[in-house]
Symmetry: C2
DNA sequence: TTGTACGCGTTATCAT
DNA sequence: ATGATAACGCGTACAA
């Protein structure tokens, strides 16, 4: 039966072509490339030379189809404009790239419904595994995961419910910052929150716990806005705080963006930091060290979170890991002059 | 011949399965999904119902293999830690996602050799097209592109040499900033450069042209460091500037990061900005509006660059475009209090 | 150690 | 408008 010529996918050179040119079968070429130990050295060298000469490029689609493994990992993050998650991506890339895995990035926009839609859409790529942000996926999401038997590692937070996770305790970090402010003699501490995703909620929990323990929790001092965080919002929140006459001596911002905007507004309004008001942020982004005054904040190991989470997922994919892993990478309080 | 059961790739439901359940052939199901016009309404509805019921998920790998189109675009950016390129990614995603294209991201680390390696590696995915940063790819890179007949759109800069590009004139932007400083009465203007990639070089060209035209160019006032840019480096560069006693009345930083670090150091050392020294940055990142004093800088349309570049590439892929496109999105000088 | 036969899920081609 | 058949390039299973 004549082989009808069709449009080729890649450069045109196939395993078969390489095999012919080297005087071996296609499968031998495949073995030279993937399991060189199983091929005699003579053939190996010959084949490799031809591979080089012909500029052979493997075809991932064919490989995927034949092996039922896509060598692809789906990474779901809430936002592309937040450096925190980008740093995590960099850590992930550092591990996946050398391992021959491709990362597919999905932006959930902090929305569980969009997260579910993304999973549905990306299922077409049949990823071998998932890296997720946080623990608050929807029930349908989890069912879909289970149905497709997809291993997943959750990043940025911790849980003991049996899911793999790599991160740190958001609540402990929130508490630690408040204990620091308390230790500096502050009692009237406000909490400024934006976005109000699960991580901010847990930092808020930590804030409440610490202040309650010190007997100085006042719900009126919690300023919460569900809209996306921004420096402008931080500046506005300082105005709101003053307008409400809440008589604060410290503010704990749920992230550095708010804190940076708030610090700038303090400068403009002539409010002495930390004299009149101590200011604290969260994440230790690059600008935090360069504000006036430099910002006290929580340094988070987001790059390592990505790195280790990717390693953990690869271990699962290789079947090396059995028990659920819960890897706590901790956090560090960066005490600077704003407190 | 008995069909041996093997491991399935996706959820397990195939076009064939859907077809059987609906009493049609696999190809009809395919048509219902991709070219519904070519199928009778009765069948269409029936098939769609079964697709829904069985939870059919198309298999991209098989589609790719059979159609020689991967619906995948390779995006090469120099860095993940620079917000500029992340914003571009967001713009790209905004266009590719709804169009059913998957973006693969490669990080070149500002290195042409790595860029070439990435292209080689990603060729396995046989991307349908490329989105590149800048114009300075290696000769081998371009040959590889040509050999595989891959359409590419260059981002961030302009050229009239026949390659598709979307961006703005880096040199004009550098010149514009210097003309602004000159117009404010400054004559002893320093240039601080880091990374020294092609874009920084062009901004430097613009700086030189503007100052030469005004008759006040002094090469000694160019501080260039090939290492990656950082706020720390900006602070260090102010120290270096003062140590060298170059007697400057303005500094043009090649990006906002340098400028932010430099401004902070000015605060620490009690240097009045803009009184003693005017300071300018480049890119208009979020923190630029919140420094003390707020930073004069060049706002760059990076989000739109990503968006339009992706659209241009899609047009090429559809064969709609013929002549090379060179799309100038311009830039805007943000005059703030630092100058 | 090397090769043969076949299937992975889809689309292109051609026939009806 | 719908279907039959082959082909995409590779890896698995099994044979030699």
């Amino acid at each position: 039966m004549p082989r009808k010529s069709r449009i080729r996918a890649g450069s045109g050179v196939t395993l078969h072509d390489v095999g012919q040119a080297a005087g071996v079968s296609a499968i031998t070429v495949s073995r030279v490339l993937h399991t060189p130990d199983k091929v005699s050295e003579a053939l190996r060298e010959k084949v490799l030379a031809v591979v080089e000469q012909l500029g052979y490029v493997p075809n991932r689609a064919a490989r995927h189809l034949a092996s039922a493994r896509s060598h692809t990992v789906l990474v779901l993050i809430p936002s592309l404009s937040n450096t925190v998650f980008i740093d995590t991506l960099a850590g992930i890339e550092e591990v996946l790239q050398p391992a021959g895995y491709q990362m597919l990035i999905g932006n959930t926009h902090y929305d569980a419904a969009q997260e579910l839609q993304l999973l549905r859409a990306y299922l077409e790529h049949s990823p071998d595994g998932l890296l997720l942000t946080g623990l608050a996926q929807s029930a349908e999401f989890s069912q879909l995961l289970a149905r497709h038997r997809l291993p997943a590692v959750h990043m940025m937070d911790l849980t003991a419910d049996g899911r793999d996770c790599v991160g740190f305790s958001q609540e402990d970090a929130g508490r630690a910052m408040c204990e620091h402010l308390l230790a500096r003699g502050r009692r009237r501490i406000a909490f400024l929150g934006a976005q109000l995703d699960e991580r901010v909620q847990k930092r808020l929990d930590g804030y409440r716990a610490a202040l309650a323990a010190a007997g100085c929790h006042q719900p009126a001092r919690e300023l919460l806005d569900p809209r996306p965080s921004s420096m402008q919002m931080g500046a506005d929140m300082l105005d709101a705080l003053l307008a409400a006459q809440l008589d604060c001596d410290a503010v704990f911002c749920c992230n550095d963006d708010l804190a940076i905007g708030l610090l700038a507004r303090c400068q403009q309004r002539g409010i002495a930091v930390p004299g009149q008001l101590a200011v604290a942020g969260f994440n230790d982004l690059a600008p935090a060290a360069w504000t006036t005054p430099p910002l006290t904040t929580i340094a988070t190991p987001r790059h390592d979170i990505g790195r280790i989470a990717a390693q953990q997922l690869l271990a699962r994919l290789r079947g090396e890991t059995t028990r659920p892993a819960c890897i706590d990478l901790g956090f560090a309080l960066q005490h600077r002059k704003s407190s």
